[in-house]
């Protein structure tokens, strides 16, 4: 316990910056739904302070409150005092995790996902089969598993072959202008493999050769969000070592903003190591580096869900990408809150997380949009579940897939 208090005390200087002004309330998706201080950053910081100042004896009790955080970083961006809420909460979870260990089975799954990536890829066919047999098909690619533990969630199909198995190695472009590494992340590797295909093929079309790592090592964010920060640090270091091997690549491209956040923002902060290359989102790369000009001719009414970890400064770029590269009528979503997926949040608190995504689907229904673009696979899974749950026959996809479809047609 003394050791734990000492570790919490190390967060004191960071936490003292919080003057409890409450600005975080206006942006916190959780607070906006329940109006409770334990949901919002100011409250969580007070709880941590109450432990090391001796007002709460049983420190394990506050873990559930720290745990109920989307890590969406809205409070971090809104805080005028510059309180590093994301670092405080990740570290706070790690410290408290020492008292309240993760259940053994959860730790085993997490360890497998983090430390045995080859095994994960090999298990893909099994998971694929398991899902098909143990579920009811809702629509193409969407299943409702019969397992009661999943609470009636509609899940996106796990593919029978991992993306890296098919694309691992160098995918050379004709008339090569540069080389990049594509970091698919777990969701694209096992579920949205078609996004990965689209990224690689679109890049090749524009003369960019793409390295795809033979093994996909998880970015580690799921471990961090469950309080296993050391596991996260190990994943980050393993990734940095593996990515450093691509000496002639100019960038690391990703189509998952959470992976980018893990490798490029939180990773270096938590490990002190530097990512060997700049990590750039695929849409930002296409717009800013390659400056692609192409109109795909897709029709319909579309909208965009912006992921929490997408760079704020690039959100307009996503809008302009959708406007210029598709022919859809773009309608902005008023509800710009988190979708509720939030790493492991949706797994732990499905009922609560469902509310966030379903309200977005309701707005899509009201605005008669039949397509929602999101540049994040986690958000896509959450929105696909909500659309199936609310009976909205809308397509949920990454804008880059449209470009790929179009290029395929004109070839």
């Amino acid at each position: 316990m003394d050791e734990l208090l000492k570790e919490l005390h190390e967060l004191e200087e960071m936490m003292l910056q919080c003057m409890k002004c409450g600005t975080c309330q206006s942006d916190c998706p959780l607070y906006r739904t329940d109006g409770r201080e334990s949901s919002v950053a100011r409250g969580k910081i007070s709880l941590l302070q109450s432990v090391y100042e001796g007002r709460i004896e049983d420190a394990g009790r506050i873990l559930k409150h720290l745990d109920q955080c989307l890590l969406c970083t809205r409070c971090l961006k809104a805080c005028p005092s510059g309180v590093k809420t994301d670092e405080i909460f990740l570290r706070g979870r790690e410290i408290l995790r020492k008292i309240k260990k993760l259940p053994k089975w959860q730790k085993l799954i997490l360890k497998t996902a983090m430390e045995k990536p080859e095994l994960m890829a090999k298990m893909a066919p099994l998971m694929h089969m398991g899902l098909k047999f143990g579920s009811k098909k809702i629509k193409d690619g969407i299943y409702r598993p019969m397992l009661p533990a999943l609470g009636g969630r509609n899940v996106v199909e796990i593919k029978s072959e991992a993306f890296v198995k098919k694309y691992g190695g160098l995918n050379k472009a004709e008339n090569e202008i540069m080389r990049v590494v594509f970091y698919p992340g777990c969701a694209v590797n096992l579920i949205y493999t078609e996004w990965g295909t689209a990224v690689v093929e679109v890049l090749r079309h524009f003369g960019v050769s793409v390295y795809v790592p033979e093994t996909n090592i998880c970015c580690g964010i799921p471990a961090a969000s469950m309080g296993e920060l050391e596991m996260f640090r190990n994943a980050v270091r393993a990734n940095f070592d593996a990515l450093a091997e691509y000496r002639d690549a100019k960038y690391i491209i990703t189509c998952c903003p959470t992976c980018r956040y893990g490798l490029y923002e939180m990773g270096p902060k938590q490990t002190g190591a530097e990512c060997p290359l700049e990590v750039v989102d695929i849409l930002v790369f296409l717009e800013e580096t390659l400056k692609v000009k192409i109109q795909s001719g897709v029709r319909g009414r579309s909208t965009i869900h912006f992921p929490c970890h997408y760079q704020d400064s690039k959100k307009e770029l996503v809008e302009s990408f959708v406007r210029t590269h598709t022919d859809t009528e773009y309608v902005k979503l008023d509800n710009q809150s988190c979708c509720g997926f939030a790493g492991t949040f949706s797994l732990k608190y499905y009922e609560r997380s469902k509310g966030f995504s379903r309200s977005k689907i309701q707005e899509m229904k009201d605005k008669r949009t039949d397509k929602v673009y999101t540049p994040c696979p986690g958000c896509a899974m959450q929105l696909a579940d909500a659309a199936a749950g609310e009976g909205l026959d809308a397509e949920v996809t990454h804008p880059v897939t449209e470009l790929y479809e179009f290029l395929r047609k004109i070839k």
Binding site: C21, G22, T23, Q25, E37, L47, I56, H65
Partner: protein
């Protein structure tokens, strides 16, 4: 600790919206003021007025202190449960009940967030003028209870100027209705007036009827930069003296400019000694005329005038001002914000006093404020763990308030008295006033259960 049977009674009223676990209670042991934590015994979030009534009655019968809390953004310790007891959250009462564009009023529940109301009203082409710095979080009930001011208070007044009616429960649980929807109404005591600035000491408010006004047709915003803060202060008095009432007239000193710029990165001039943010609004012709006059007064005092060309530019300026307070918290662990206010013509004298006191006690102080209405926020940056410095801080605060009173000002322009300023109240209003307030409070709440000890009552 409340007994199990008593907790069960609360649960009977508010269902699952009742919390007594240590960690839940700790989340309501503070507000945005500087002060020690005070832990309540129970927290309850009613969602109907009937539930509020039952909770009040239960607290009365069982002699449980009752503290009403909205967003808890108040800066004077007004929502600290100093005697433990029950914290009643109004965040569950968050409905805008009516926006009437014909008669220009809105009826809202106490827990409605101020900016939610402002946006809903503006969508209907009207304006709800009070705009406290905390408007994105704070609630209407809290605004009324603290009589919150804001950046537009100079021309449009404070929250209290917009309260047409209020519904509340007294400590016995009686429903009290005051005021209403007519422009003129003189029925009985002005009880809604009494509830304004009452800081939760007289009853639990649930509903408010608020006056709305037409949106100004035109506005102009300016950022004026000075190489000497005193010249900025003189400009303020000169503008008011020239019979011009801008909607907003805000002042920031060098120290605040630097920190805000660091936090908001909007391009404020960090080498300036002081700046004014000015907005004139109204009929387009009047705006142009006033703008020209204000500009020439500013320039006469050596101010460099920059006009916001786009609405986005204007919004950025205002956002920066709203964040001034919390931006200062970046620099030191403890931040003590004061609310000293003087008649507008005496701003330069007050600014000089603050400067002198700061150097006398060698403290770090950032000063910003609603200079146009005389409301200054000298903000002391310190570290509460440094006991020696805290002694100097306390002396400095005593002197700041003494100076404000000497200049015929007040110890609180908009943040209320709460627990933070209780000890200074008598020096402003005198013993007779305190006795009157005590008698009023005792008559309505003989057991002193409603937000006890605030304002020293």
């Amino acid at each position: 600790m409340l007994s199990k049977s008593l907790i069960a009674k609360f649960a009977e009223i508010a269902g699952k919206n009742v919390w007594t676990e240590q960690e839940d209670l700790m989340c309501y042991a503070y507000d945005a003021s500087f002060g020690e934590m005070c832990v309540p015994e129970i927290v309850v979030k009613p969602e109907t007025t009937e539930q509020v009534c039952s909770i009040v009655k239960l607290c009365c019968e069982e002699s449980i202190p009752l503290v009403t809390r909205g967003a808890g953004t108040n800066l004077s310790g007004g929502t600290l449960p100093v005697n433990g007891g029950c914290v009643l959250l109004t965040t569950g009462l968050n409905k805008i009940l009516e926006i009437n564009t014909e008669d220009m009023y809105a009826v809202v529940q106490s827990g409605v967030v101020t900016s939610d109301l402002a946006l809903a009203v503006s969508a209907k082409g009207l304006l709800y003028p009070p705009d406290p710095g905390s408007m994105k979080m704070s609630t209407i009930g809290g605004n009324v209870a603290e009589n919150a001011g804001g950046l537009r208070a100079l021309k449009y007044g404070v929250t209290g100027d917009y309260v047409m009616g209020t519904k509340f429960f007294d400590m016995e649980g009686n429903a009290v209705i005051s005021g209403g929807k007519t422009v003129k109404m003189v029925t009985g005591f002005n009880l809604s007036g009494l509830m304004v600035s009452s800081e939760g000491l007289l009853g639990v408010m649930t509903e408010h009827t608020l006056k709305l006004v037409p949106q100004p047709q035109s506005s102009r915003s300016m950022l004026v930069i000075y190489d000497d803060l005193m010249k900025a202060s003189v400009t303020v008095s000169e503008i008011i003296g020239a019979r011009i009432t801008p909607a907003t007239l805000e002042l920031m000193d060098r120290f605040t400019i630097k920190t805000v710029e660091e936090a908001a990165k909007i391009g404020l001039p960090t080498d300036a000694d002081g700046l004014l943010l000015i907005e004139v609004d109204g009929h387009p012709a009047a705006v142009e005329d006033e703008y020209a006059k204000v500009k020439s007064i500013c320039e006469k005092q050596g101010g460099k005038v920059h006009v916001a060309e786009t609405p986005e530019e204007r919004d950025r300026l205002w956002e920066a001002r709203r964040k001034a307070l919390s931006s200062l918290a970046r620099l030191k662990p403890t931040l003590i914000l004061e609310d000293a206010t003087v008649p507008r013509s005496r701003i330069p004298e007050m600014m000089q006093c603050i400067k002198d006191i700061t150097s006398k006690y060698s403290l770090t102080v950032g000063t910003f404020g609603h200079a146009g209405d005389g409301n200054l926020h000298p903000t002391i940056l310190t570290d509460k763990r440094n006991t020696e410095e805290m002694l100097r801080v306390e002396k400095a605060i005593d002197e700041i308030f003494a100076s404000a009173l000497k200049l015929e000002g007040t110890i609180s322009g908009e943040h209320g008295i709460g627990s933070a300023k209780a000890k200074y109240l008598e020096s402003e209003v005198g013993a007779g006033t305190i006795r009157f307030m005590k008698k009023l409070k005792n008559g309505l709440d003989p057991k002193n259960l409603l937000n006890p000890h605030k304002m020293g009552l």
